[in-house]
């Protein structure tokens, strides 16, 4: 029972993280058609910005969290305007751009900040005990923030004008433009949103585990797995994909070696892709 409750909690926390990162990734891929390989690096930068505010400048952790989200949102606007917009619709150029961004961000962090592993001070110390469940407040907080953000994102996409505009652009760019939707503005909003969510995930993960310049690499793999499994163009599918991949990644390594569990996860994804060539909930975009 102890193992089961730990597994469920771990699965939920891991899934929340994966969904937060992949939601941003999916927004960029669906709306702008950018396969943003730099998303893992942006997640890492988000963690470092919070670290800079809270540890180096000594600002209150919660205030620095909010500040870093704002900073990363502005960074997203910058990225969209100067890096992505000139190459809209050109997949090869986008790929060069995003790989170049990985090199710049990771190497920059490695050179100027140092490659050693740091940790963010935890937001709330202590352990929560309730029946079989015994989790640190940190993990519980991660889960709560993750869940709240996911609900907010769903509401934003489904209930607000800008969210509906994003969906429209994701489905058909030309059609959306003909309806009077400003595609550049929608794309800028989506990029900023994606960077902000990556920043939240990076900060929470840095407080939970650790912070180093190369931590984005593994989460990038997971984000690609989640988004492709759920299907490009389906924002809602990311939740299910994230839960599947998150639980597999959190539960399998408890019982078998990590290399074997990695292989099993990849084989499952490949088999699902072969049965449903557009992903679980996707449709043809390109």
């Amino acid at each position: 029972m102890e193992t089961a409750s730990t597994c469920i909690m771990n699965g939920l926390v891991t899934s929340a993280m994966y969904i937060l990162v992949s939601l941003g990734f999916a927004l960029l891929l669906s709306i702008m058609g950018i396969f943003n390989f730099a998303h893992g690096a942006i997640y890492m930068v988000g963690g470092f910005v919070t670290y800079g505010f809270s540890v180096a400048l000594g600002i209150n952790p919660w205030a620095s969290f909010v500040l870093s989200i704002i900073v990363m949102g502005l960074f997203g606007l910058f990225l969209e305007k100067f890096c992505f917009r000139p190459f809209m619709g050109n997949a090869n150029s986008m790929m060069i751009m995003s790989i170049a961004l990985i090199f710049i961000l990771e190497t920059g962090a490695n050179i100027w900040l140092g490659g050693w592993t740091r940790a963010l001070p935890s937001f709330i110390p202590g352990v929560l005990k309730a029946g079989f469940f015994s989790v640190t407040w940190e993990r519980f907080l991660t889960l709560i923030i993750g869940a709240v953000l996911l609900v907010l994102m769903t509401l934003l996409i489904n209930k607000t004008t800008i969210g509906q505009q994003m969906l429209a652009v994701a489905q058909d760019k030309t059609g959306a433009a003909l309806q009077g939707i400003n595609i550049n503005r929608t794309a800028a909003f989506a990029t900023a949103l994606a960077c902000m969510m990556a920043c939240v995930a990076g900060t929470l993960m840095a407080a939970l585990l650790s912070l180093n310049p190369y931590m984005g690499d593994s989460i990038l793999n997971k984000a690609i797995e989640v988004v492709i499994l759920s299907g490009i163009g389906s924002i809602g599918g990311v939740f299910f994909g994230g839960l599947i991949i998150g639980f597999l990644n959190a539960v399998l390594p408890v019982f078998i070696s990590s290399a074997l569990s990695e292989t099993i996860v990849l084989v499952i994804i490949m088999v699902i892709l072969l049965i449903r060539p557009k992903g679980l909930f996707g449709y043809e975009l390109f």
């Binding site: 690609i224 990849l266 994804i269 490949m270 072969l274």
Partner: protein, 330 residues
Amino acid sequence: MLKNPFVTGRNKTVYIYVGLVIVLLLFPLVVSSTFYIHILILSFIYVIAAGSLRLISTSGQISMGHAGFMGIGAYVSIYLSKFLGVSPWISMAIAALITLIIALIVGIPFARLRGIYFTMITLFFGLGALSIEQLFSDYTGGYSGIAGIPALFSTDSKIPYYYFFLILVTVCLIIMFRLEHSRIGQTWKAVAQSYSVASSIGINELQQRVLVFAIGCAFAGLAGAGLAHYSLVLSQSNFNLLASMYLIVYVLVGGIASFAGPIIGTAILVMIPEMSRSLKDYVPLLFAAIMLIVLFTMPKGLAGLPAQVKGWFHRKNKGNTPKEVINNAS
């Protein structure tokens, strides 16, 4: 009428290639530094891999698991030569063959997917190959690496390796060139332009896509095996996702549209980081700088630069006649 510069010799590019091969043949006689020889050997190996990646891309498919196939070739060859005692010469050939067979087996189901989903399933295959190799870390060494791989030549000198890999890369590139400019290569280009039109004129497009994928991956396996028997110490980090991305960057920066693209891109992007070893930490920044310069100033990659420069002069001196516009565009 198909223009085949390699047969007719009408095109100037064939002279450039022959001249390049002659210069490279004479290179070790003039420059005795083993360091430059080493860089050139590495470039030769990666030119095979990048060239085969471009060969696959002529059919409109982009593989992001190419380094994974290099890894399969490398570890098959290591297993045969180190643990079963086969001569490395034979094991390299067998490794290429086994990579071909594996690529055929996985290529048939993968051909169901198109566009970005194909790219992604090859990416997952590359990651999966990596984790399977990690499972057998007794034979592959995993991330800590494996040492004591049998060498091709029993000397310490790099000169025999240089000539062997020069011949190998020349032969491989000639094969790729002939394939691309043969009837089958035109078929692949037709599939790339529109698979539905291609199948409507009687091309079995699934078969052709599997075929080009398998052939390209066989070259990648050969390159991986060559890398193993040249460097003698090998770790899995040579074959991870980043390595696949590097191969794609070599092709894209060189220019995916022209045959010379991967050769130029690999030459420049392998040589510059190796030469600036003293600034090891800054190498990825240098890499990114080259990529951004190419991205913002050369839409056709480094291989398109001569035509681009020619275009500027034509515009300045004569003005653009319609005929020149067509020439410059092609």
